[in-house]
């Protein structure tokens, strides 16, 4: 009985350690991000700016985008999951903290949803 209890305690301890080992998502700081977006601005800060290669379309607007989505996109470019040469190059030297800060800067002003239009959750008004 006792060894079993010990084993259980150990297992719980290990699980907790494992959970802890997963680095928490970096907290973004919009002010810090403002100083890190100089490379982004050349394209994303220009209205109607278009890609030139390999396909031509306007680069996405980032103002008001969800910070967690921006971080996910930057990580996907960095690790090659999302394939676009310019963004791969831009993200190459970004740390997780840089990404969180940049995302916080662009996502600082989240669009407001008027309560009468907010049928997203199906909640009755």
């Amino acid at each position: 009985m006792r060894p079993l209890a010990l084993f259980a305690a150990g297992a719980i301890g290990l699980a907790a350690l494992g959970a802890h080992a997963q680095a928490p998502a970096a907290q973004g700081n919009a002010d810090a991000g403002k100083k890190k977006v100089f490379q982004c601005q050349g394209c994303h800060g220009v209205a109607d700016w278009k890609t030139a290669f390999p396909e031509v379309y306007r680069v996405p607007k980032l103002g008001g985008q969800k910070p967690a989505y921006i971080v996910a996109a930057l990580k996907a470019y960095k690790n090659g999951e999302r394939d676009f040469p310019t963004m791969r190059a831009m993200t190459n030297n970004l740390s997780d903290q840089d990404m969180a800060d940049i995302a916080a800067y662009y996502g600082a002003e989240q669009p407001k949803v008027a309560a009468k239009d907010d049928d997203r959750t199906g909640a009755k008004k």
């Binding site: 980032l62 910070p67 989505y69 002003e109």
Partner: protein
Amino acid sequence: MTKRLLIASLLLATAVPAFAASGDPERGERKSTACAACHGKNGISVSPEFPNLAGQYPDYLQTALTHYKNGKRKNPIMQAQVANLTPADILDLAAYFSHQKALQVKH
């Protein structure tokens, strides 16, 4: 010969705009039910993980959806959602969400 070339180039010039088809936001709205579950009916998403779509450029949205469809961009949820979309559906959806207002060009 030159006359034939002239006619050919004229034909080409008039044909090109036909390819630059644009979507119809009202048709897009009717097709957007599945999108709204995550991205919000008004293009403002319900979760931090999902991007806002309201006011995004239509050509970017079209490219993203097309890339999900042809596998260039990989995401299990989106891959399933776009499987049955035609190029016309994609244009209509892009028109619908881009006509909303929220996202901005931020310098």
